[in-house]
Symmetry: C2
Subunit: 352 residues, 2 copies
């Protein structure tokens, strides 16, 4: 069965799907500057230190290697794009938006490095993880360095409001990750709890991206709120799609083994719906009770793929994206608004 038929999107949808490159058009040049900024961070320079100390820190180049590896590993740069796009409605000033865009992406990279260490994930985006190549200790410390770098970047915006927002968002993200960790292998979770968790661990950083872009471009409060809501909604959709792709994707597409969430004991929406559908004899139940891990993961994937659960999940995600599109109504109509609308479609239709 064709992918788009499988996920239940109407035929017309495929034609609406835009390439990310096309979506990013209004900010293409500035995204190149974000990349340059990220590359310069990978050099692990310490310009604020006395030369002698900076040299001694830099000498080994080990930190630079870790940074380069984690910051240039094939991410889609959605979060920095959101910062820039949402800065395009009012006073677009790269002096503030550029460090903010970098800060958000660096924060994202830090959370991934820590997640992989926590989950003992060997592979991400088709590449061995920092955890796998350098070990858990390096992964934890690199993540710490990246969080600190994000803090330094956001400070250069000289805007106390977004500085505080980044710090608060990171608290929300780690709270979301903590609740995921506490909930591991717990079969009794409500859908509301799932939505709360993905709101915390994923959508909060999306929200920060557009909220800060709006604040730093002096958008009126109503627009700030609309852009924040927009991102919250596509963030939720993004994570739901991620969670479905973990069942229906191929290892090549999603860049990591399928069924990873189940293996970690993370109950996502498709697994929840499967539990509702087969409350008695259920592979997820058996798996979470520690029976026949590999066999039950395979069985759960097959059951989900051959049921309407996939479409059901995509319907939930699409509803969030429809809400996101409506959030945009309030904003001035320009190329960036089109791009943000396109991004809402992309979040649903992406295969990776």
């Amino acid at each position: 069965m064709d992918f788009y038929t499988h996920i239940g999107l109407p035929e017309s949808w495929e034609r609406r799907i835009l390439e990310l490159g096309k979506i990013y058009e209004p900010i293409q040049e500035d995204l190149v500057k974000v990349e340059a900024k990220l590359r310069s961070i990978s050099e692990a320079a310490f310009p604020w230190l006395p030369k002698r100390l900076a040299y001694s820190l830099k000498r080994s180049g080990q930190l630079a290697k870790l940074l380069g590896y984690s910051l240039n590993s094939g991410g889609k740069r959605i979060r920095p794009a959101l910062v820039l796009l949402s800065g395009k409605f009012y006073n677009y000033n790269l002096d503030y938006l550029l460090p903010m865009a970098a800060a958000v992406e660096v924060t994202h990279a830090a959370t991934l490095v820590h997640d992989d260490a926590i989950d003992n994930s060997p592979i991400r985006w088709g590449k061995a993880t920092i955890y796998r190549v350098w070990g858990e200790d390096k992964a934890v410390l690199l993540g710490d360095y990246l969080f600190a770098k994000a803090g330094e970047l956001v400070a250069t915006t000289q805007n106390l409001q977004v500085i505080k927002l980044l710090a608060q968002t990171l608290q929300i993200i780690s709270t979301g990750e903590l609740s995921q960790s506490f909930d591991a292998f717990n079969l009794k979770q409500t859908r509301q709890r799932y939505l709360q968790r993905i709101s915390n661990k994923t959508a909060s950083l999306f929200s920060l991206a557009t909220e800060s872009g709006a604040i730093l471009s002096q958008a009126p409060e109503k627009s700030v709120k609309a852009l924040k809501e927009y991102s919250h909604n596509i963030g939720i959709a993004f994570q739901i799609v991620d969670d479905v792709l973990d069942f229906i994707g191929t290892e090549e597409e999603i860049g990591k083994p399928v069924g990873s969430d189940l293996a970690q004991g993370t109950l996502t929406l498709p697994a929840m719906l499967l539990l509702e559908r087969y409350p008695e004899d259920n592979p997820v139940k058996k798996l979470f009770q520690n029976q026949d891990k590999q066999k039950n993961i395979k069985l759960a994937i097959e059951l989900v793929c051959n049921s309407p659960i996939v479409q059901e999940c995509y319907q939930v995600a699409s509803d969030y994206c429809a809400k996101a599109r409506r959030n945009l109504d309030l904003l001035p109509d320009n190329a960036s608004r089109q791009a943000l609308a396109g991004l809402a479609d992309y979040v649903i239709a992406r295969k990776r």
Copy 2:
């Protein structure tokens, strides 16, 4: 042999040693407020969130439990005391100094939680570590939350300079920890490299404490520099003493197994001096080459304890503290200056 004879301090020294409580006298009341602030952080409230979300985050109380455990675990509160004491020379304003003091202590707590996870340490300050009780994943995420909380606290000082300083300090700390990790079980390390590493991983946070206290009280640049240098020097001394206590202390005094550094493959000053003294048949060498771990740790401890290495290390530490005392000369003479001088003695004479 009596402890102070062993470490080679002149007899007169013991009489100079002040209790921490006495040293903290000029800021006693405000340290109580720091404790209250730390307690309120342990409650894991999210006052900036809509009530519904905050409630859902708080509900389980799991985060609060972790926070309470890590923030109230018997630390000496030296770093917040440094913030407050160095704020006492000019414009002492608790509105800024209190969140800064809390930010520095929370940062310290975060680094300890991550260190224990990285080192798989079961015990600290005589108490099971977060890592041991809740596991590696919770420890990593709790540390992330604490770093973020520190960022939020420092933002409430509304001072961009100290906000940036905290972010930069955390980069330096993780760089120091990273180099320690890369250097593990490496026998070829210079004393300069050791000093650089402990400057990064320990002294940098001490420096931040006094530097930020000075900045936030509008101290003139010369005084900021003097207080920063003072803390750098006692920070180095503090870590050297830590590293010696890991050889000569008792498990009860230092609150963790003796010889932990050797077990981790961390080459500290006493071990370096032991290698210089016995370049051929040396237990540290054998240990780092993975021979008879327990036996060689015991042997190394015995050799260090029964050699002048202990006094030699304390001499190095004392020299740093003497420098620290001289850094204070430039400051107005008041009760806080006396306290900081006393703290320099305490750093040397402490048994835990």
